[in-house]
């Protein structure tokens, strides 16, 4: 059977993909979590009738369940939009083989229906049906009840697939969907318009009137048809490429950096790289988000006197980009590392350019977090000290440690939770880097006052800045020692 062939091929693709075995551990934990949730659902389903009767005297349990259904549609679609895996297949190899294109498309579209994750809700629904719906309303209604929920699940799945195919999951879609959900909840909350009431009527109609199920099945077919329409409109693979967002021509003109020689040339390449890849852009967005955490720390009186903690926050604020990109520093050149090594660039210039990039990161972060100074002049001194320390000490540490990387980072991988190239070792290194100065600050501030501790660290930072040439030489020597190991690691990783 041809379907079996396709199924086995998709299975093989997953098993033989990169990083399959690494994600197995996480998958095993997720399975355990899933079992726990299933058990909880079973219990809740079993006692749902009692819970609902106690909850509201106005509506029967059945009506309350129906009322919640429309929210399951809204939340279901939203949740699936972010979490549902869009089933895709690389169509090109199949296009020239004597296999019907419609067959392959149907396969992709129907595959999600068989995903057991879809039916998790039924752990809750089945006990509820058995316990309450069956004795109260009889077999016919129970069957219709379960069937309508199945159709609902299918509709959610197909409709979300369709939405995902049309709209890419990006910043704006998150914003719009969240706004939509919040407004619905708000409307319900202030009793302006009750979707609950509408839902009760709607789903009671669907369950109690026999022909209504046909209507629902019709909706499922329409959602399925929308997906098919998408594939019919985008028949040729080249159409998919057209739809990609084109931010490739960003920063084509950075001529002013040419004045700075080799270092300037490398910097311009790095800046273009940062802004032309989705993965680096998303790291920058996440950093911007993390910078907002300062509000929680700086405004809270609880933390006003723990200088150590405040210093940690200040270091993160002024060095956020540096830490987030810290482990990427050599690895992002991994795919063209050989080329880089044979060019007319001295290692010293290369590492200097990296240092300049970190310097630029820190300046940007410092400027962006300057609004925090409204919380008090103390914050300004903290930030200044942390800034100097970051440039004078942490920057070199990051450069030095980057020579221990052996796995390249593939910037073109743009999946949302893509950890390719990262490892827990990164954390093992970052933590001491962050905690050591915090420890120093804490120690000194318990014996003397805060200002002395700040000045000590600033002094250390200034020393680091003044000794730049010597420390860079250290990094260059380290790099040369590890050059061949790094290069072969990057070559293998491709």
């Amino acid at each position: 059977m041809l379907v079996l062939n396709l199924i086995t091929q998709q299975w093989k693709k997953n098993i033989r993909g990169e990083g399959f075995y690494k994600s197995l551990v996480v998958d095993a934990l997720l399975v355990l979590l899933a079992i726990c949730i299933a058990v909880v659902f079973l219990f809740v389903g079993y006692s749902l009738e009692d819970l609902l009767t106690k909850l509201s005297a106005q509506y029967t349990p059945m009506q309350q369940f129906n009322g919640a259904m429309i929210y399951s549609v809204f939340f279901g679609i939203t949740f699936r939009f972010f979490m549902q895996h869009l089933s895709t297949i690389n169509l090109t190899p199949y296009l020239i083989l004597p296999i019907k294109r419609s067959f392959v498309i149907h396969f992709i579209l129907i595959k999600p229906v068989f995903n057991p994750l879809n039916y998790f809700l039924f752990f809750l629904v089945m006990p509820f049906t058995y316990n309450y719906v069956l004795p109260t309303f009889g077999m016919a209604v129970s069957v219709r009840f379960v069937l309508s929920l199945v159709f609902l699940t299918w509709f959610n799945s197909f409709f979300t697939s369709f939405l995902k195919r049309i709209f890419t999951v990006g910043f704006f879609s998150i914003l719009i969907l969240s706004a939509f959900l919040v407004s619905i909840i708000y409307l319900e909350y202030i009793h302006y318009y009750s979707f609950f009431h509408l839902s009760v009527k709607l789903f009671s109609f669907l369950i109690f009137k026999p022909f209504a199920l046909l209507l629902q099945f019709g909706l499922v077919c329409i959602a399925f048809g929308l997906n098919k329409l998408f594939f019919a409109r985008n028949y040729y693979p080249e159409r998919f490429k057209e739809r990609k967002v084109d931010n490739r021509m960003l920063f084509a003109d950075l001529g002013f950096l040419n004045r700075f020689g080799v270092v300037g040339a490398i910097m311009s390449v790095n800046i273009r790289m940062l802004f032309r890849h989705k993965r680096t852009l998303s790291v920058m967005y996440i950093s911007a988000f993390f910078l907002l955490y300062g509000i929680a720390f700086y405004s809270n009186d609880l933390f006003k006197d723990s200088v150590g903690l405040l210093y940690l926050v200040a270091m993160c604020n002024t060095g956020m980009l540096m830490f987030m990109f810290g482990q990427w520093f050599l690895s992002w050149d991994g795919s063209h590392f050989d080329n880089l090594m044979t060019q007319n660039i001295s290692i010293r210039s290369y590492i200097n350019a990296n240092y300049m990039l970190i310097f630029l990161f820190n300046i940007v972060c410092f400027v962006i977090t300057s609004p925090y100074f409204f919380f008090g002049i103390k914050i300004f001194y903290l930030h200044m000290s942390a800034f100097v320390f970051n440039i004078g000490v942490n920057a070199y540490l990051i450069l030095y440690i980057s020579t221990f990387k052996t796995r390249p980072i593939k910037l073109l991988n743009t999946s949302a939770s893509n950890y390719q190239g990262s490892s827990y070792k990164h954390l093992k290194i970052i933590l001491p880097i962050l905690l050591l100065p915090v420890g120093i600050v804490y120690l000194i501030s318990t014996f003397a006052n805060m200002w002395i501790s700040l000045w000590v660290l600033t002094f250390i930072g200034l020393v680091g800045i003044m000794l730049r040439e010597q420390i860079i030489t250290l990094c260059v020597n380290q790099f040369n020692k590890r050059k061949f190991v790094i290069a072969s690691g990057f070559r293998e990783g491709e």
């Binding site: 041809l2 062939n5 091929q9 093989k12 693709k13 033989r16 993909g17 690389n90 090109t92 190899p93 296009l95 020239i96 083989l97 004597p98 296999i99 019907k100 294109r101 419609s102 028949y235 040729y236 693979p237 080249e238």
Partner: protein, 231 residues
């Protein structure tokens, strides 16, 4: 067998393919030459319904190729590595293609036996996935898969590029045999003018998407082609 009618493909306002008429009868071995960017690969993709023509149509055996699946059973093709299902082993890939062409296991093993010299022991029983093979070996696998279904129309884009010298000679022999014994229509594009003149009875030169020369191969063709490209 293959009929191209009024075919025009436009990208960004520029005609990358502009062929008013091209008829290739059954059993002809047709060579396509041209410099990079002339449109050879684009033409093949248009013939295989992988890109949409702006104007015009391609007919294989009387059927229009767009949005049609029936011509795929009589066509075998290999354009680039994107055509391979990269996470399969060669054996798995061949058996899948054989199944699609409704070939039995015995026919498949007989075919692979024939290909043994061509594969040179590097492809079968290596337990490697298709994506781990060298580019030349991937090409061999693709060509073999294209030949597997006993196609009446065979389309190969630059098959000689990347193959080692012995394999190039073997491939030439294969193509000549296929055409003479099975009357297969073969379309080949190549940068190797000498190979193309040896294998093909008809050679077309493509320049910026237009057919500028349509030659019947004889002893002078190679000289004529070289003279043309010397500019």
């Amino acid at each position: 067998m293959l009929h191209v009618k009024n075919l025009i493909k436009t990208y960004n306002g520029i005609n990358v393919i502009n062929i008013p008429e091209l008829i290739i009868p059954q059993g002809e071995c047709f060579g396509l030459v041209g410099n990079n960017g002339a449109g050879k690969t684009t033409l093949f993709r248009l013939m295989l319904d992988l890109i949409e023509p702006s104007i015009g149509q391609v007919f294989i055996d009387g059927q229009c190729v767009t949005r049609n699946d029936k011509w795929k059973s009589i066509t075998g093709s290999f354009l680039d590595e994107g055509f391979l299902i990269e996470f399969l082993t060669p054996e798995e890939y061949f058996s899948f293609v054989a199944k699609l062409h409704k070939k039995s296991k015995d026919e498949l093993s007989a075919f692979l036996n024939q290909m043994k010299d061509f594969f040179n022991g590097e492809i079968l029983e290596t337990k490697k996935l298709l994506r781990d093979f060298s580019k030349g070996n991937q090409k061999k696998i693709g060509i073999a898969a294209a030949l597997l279904g006993n196609p009446r129309l065979l389309i190969l884009d630059e098959p000689f590029t990347g193959l080692d010298p012995s394999s190039q000679i073997r491939l030439k022999r294969f193509l000549v045999d296929f055409q003479s014994q099975l009357q297969t229509t073969i379309l080949v594009s190549s940068h190797y003018l000498s190979h193309v003149t040896e294998v093909c009875q008809r050679i077309v030169v493509l320049e910026k998407g237009e057919m500028v020369k349509d030659l019947k191969t004889n002893e002078d063709t190679l000289r004529e082609l070289k003279a043309y490209f010397e500019i």
